[in-house]
Symmetry: C2
Subunit: 486 residues, 2 copies
């Protein structure tokens, strides 16, 4: 079947170009001297233009036609490769390349405008760039006539097959459960994070030794520093995670575990999927479930905290494990999503989902966003927003035209809790293993139930395969309830 | 003129892909975890295959036809762009893509075979891989019917327009001059390098502070460590040099100055050539002239040595400047090219040129290479070669199919000396400036006379432009004579 071989060669090429783009981005955030930025922008633009051209080429459609004419002859793996190749090709072909270019341009200009607007907390200054990004996202959504609601087309870019209607049900139940739970807290507790006044040297020692304990070795990993922590998988055996160090904070350790979760997912995808179109994590929400699982269910687990405390002590910062755990799991409503605790975090997401949906279903004008934001923060978290910078202007996503992305952060939290419950149901409690830093059973269970599939299963089918049920809210509520009631 | 704009867009894309390949190679040598190698091989192969396809595409020829039909309308710059684009396209189109693939494969396998053969000093084990690379290089040369001798086609890949006949004249005079000079040395002097038993920490301090003195700043440079020192220019403002540190050696400092020379060349190419086909150094020999100029004419300059001595002292290794200089310029025939002194170095190259020419003009069989090598070392340097590992097997180039490359190392030494003579004739002696580490005048003269042209002038026209004469041997002999006679 020569068309299949030809298709697979093209898909391998696209995977290689994608890895090179990943390398260029990783380098930009970790190694590149600052004056390299402008040329790097050109290099990345050329690469993505070329990759897009190769992905949507007419010939790919011809190869697919040929292969599909004799689909019965395909192996199971090749059937999945062809199915996803067809889906990706169809979706990408629907979007005119001028619109792709306009969106890239608007995203770039939007981020510049956002940075300036956020610096002065001036929402009005951001409105034109935001409006342009919303309009282009609407044009983009209009390219897809196979979805129920336009916003579904945007969601499909991040989490294929989880439509707005499904999210409405999930976030309604989640919001109801969390707000009821938080109502039991009479007032925001005192901030315990001051007890974690960890010097940077001790943080660094703890990050590196904790990662080493859970399998990060020099043969196939790098650990670096960047402004925003991220992970980049250049291949199954070339994994790069970053974290950031701020004096007196343990965010470095938590972020490193978070990025480890993303990275482990990519490393444990079945080897035969490498350099195919299936060889990466299936969706943003499943990816986020992996980072949240390692961040919250392992890293903040009471059983694991003594390991962290020991690594901090070895790094020169002796700390009581119980005090460390109390600070790590403290619940305290706050204004900024990225530093929110694990209980209130999904409410930040629920608000963004609600506002995005209203924007794309024309029940909210852009000019009314700040008021709607502030109302939502009052209703969901009981907080007054003092200014746009710590409110509606806090995130970069909308500035970059990334609408439909936020929900995956919330769904990721739910899937993480659901997987963790299933994992402990299957394997028994992990407390003993975690207390000595042994994560082998967790790692192997995730490989078997989640990671190895790559893109072969979409989000909800994957969750069903792993847990026997679709995405559920209750496991997350069961996970967080003791944290508030404690 | 839309064809010109289209051509220039393609050339910009190719420049961007080239930079991404450079990044991937830099990363491989400096940052990549070892297990990433196999996937990186795929990524680089996909990138170069794709770049080749885009470079030799039929459409490029059509654009060139269109543009050339109205060449009078072109600006000077565009005329050079089109001239080189035509030359590159014609040259690349002559070679069947199967042959390109076979050469890449043979080069990869050749390097593996060479590593094993060198480890056991077993030339016979290397013969099949070498023979394959020679045969494919012959097939490659046979694609070009516009050269006088097949070897010229190989030379053109590294140094366009400097044919074998020219090299024969140059290397004959050079060999004659150098062997006569060395005959004045009664016996090899005692090895002074022991006086440079510099600890690695002091080397590192001296490398970084010396580079900083001559303009290496964090905004647009990186200095890293790799097994073999190299430089990589990802853009005019993203320059990466490496060096290597061995206990008790000053090679780290010398190599850093060498790589600085390569890097400065790329940085000072005229900005309007960036992202065109002219925006890089014009040839291997001119590139090598820049590295050799900074290594030998600046770094080993008696006037500059006190600066190096001061930086070593600041790094914790006090050393007498005169002793340092004596060790840096010592002449002592030796077996290994890469550690040869500046006087005997070109004789190592003359030997390789002689052998390559004989191989490609069928006057030497591959099986007779070791004997011919050993004869040459006796004749040119008066040395007995004890084994193949320190003789014919010492370099990687032939294993990688890179025939025609070595001569550029020798021509680079000549051009460096010729440029330096001209520079001091134009500007006066640089001794005072160098004694305080001031290299601004040298840097600016090189920008004006050499660097800014990029590929607009080929090797010999560029040398003529800079010095008023073609490539000459005498300046180099004048430079080295005092080093032997001293």
């Amino acid at each position: 079947m020569p068309a299949l071989a030809t298709l697979r060669t093209r898909l391998a090429e696209l995977a290689d170009l994608d890895a090179l783009g990943g390398l260029a981005s990783w380098d930009q955030e970790t190694m590149m001297p600052p004056d390299g930025a402008s040329a790097r922008g050109h290099q990345l633009a050329s690469l993505s233009r070329l990759a897009h051209e190769r992905a949507v080429a007419d010939e790919v459609g011809e190869w697919l036609d040929d292969i599909e004419a004799d689909a019965a002859a395909l192996s199971d793996l090749d059937r999945d490769i062809v199915r996803l190749a067809r889906r990706d090709w169809d979706r990408q072909r629907r979007v005119p390349s001028e619109l792709v270019g306009e969106r890239a341009q608007a995203a770039s200009e939007g981020q510049t405008a956002w940075q300036a607007a956020r610096a002065t907390s001036d929402f009005e200054a951001f409105v034109p760039a935001l409006r342009r990004n919303v309009e282009l996202a609407r044009d983009y959504a209009a390219c897809f006539n196979d979805v129920e609601r336009p916003y579904d087309a945007l969601l499909n870019d991040y989490d294929f097959g989880v439509p707005a209607q499904r999210l409405e049900t999930v976030f309604a139940r989640l919001t109801e459960g969390l707000t009821a739970l938080l109502a039991e807290q009479s007032a925001a507790p005192a901030d315990l994070s001051a007890s974690l006044d960890v010097p940077i040297d001790a943080q660094k020692a703890a990050v590196l030794s904790t990662l080493r304990r859970i399998g990060v070795g020099d043969d196939s990993w790098r650990v670096d520093v960047s402004t925003h922590p991220f992970s980049e998988s250049l291949s199954r055996r070339d994994t790069r995670v970053t974290t950031r160090y701020e004096d007196g904070s343990l965010e470095s350790v938590v972020a490193a575990l978070h990025e480890f979760g993303h990275a482990l997912y990519e490393r444990q995808i079945a080897p035969e999927l490498e350099r195919t179109n299936l060889g990466r994590g299936t969706s943003m929400s499943v990816h986020e479930s992996q980072s949240k699982l390692w961040e919250n269910h392992v890293g903040r687990n009471r059983a694991f905290t003594p390991v962290l405390a020991a690594e901090l002590a070895a790094g020169g910062f002796p700390i009581d494990a119980e005090a460390l755990h109390a600070a790590l799991v403290q619940v305290r409503p706050s204004l900024i999503r990225v530093s929110a605790d694990q209980v209130t975090y999904p409410l930040h997401i629920a608000l963004r989902f609600e506002l995005e949906l209203a924007l794309f279903e024309n029940s909210l004008d852009i000019g009314d966003l700040p008021a709607a934001w502030n109302d939502g923060m009052r209703r969901l978290l009981g907080l007054e927003v003092p200014d746009a910078a710590s409110g509606v202007l806090q995130d970069i996503h909308w500035a970059a035209g990334a609408f439909g992305y936020f929900p995956s952060y919330g769904i990721g939290c739910l899937i993480a809790a659901q997987l963790w419950e299933q994992l402990e149901a299957d394997l028994g409690t992990q407390d003993t293993a975690l207390s000595v830093g042994d994560i082998a059973a967790i790692r192997d269970w995730l490989a078997e139930r989640v990671h190895r599939y790559g893109r072969r299963l979409d989000t909800e089918p994957l969750v069903e395969q792993a847990t026997g049920r679709g995405i559920e809210v209750e496991p997350f509520l069961r996970h967080v309830t003791p944290l508030v009631e404690a």
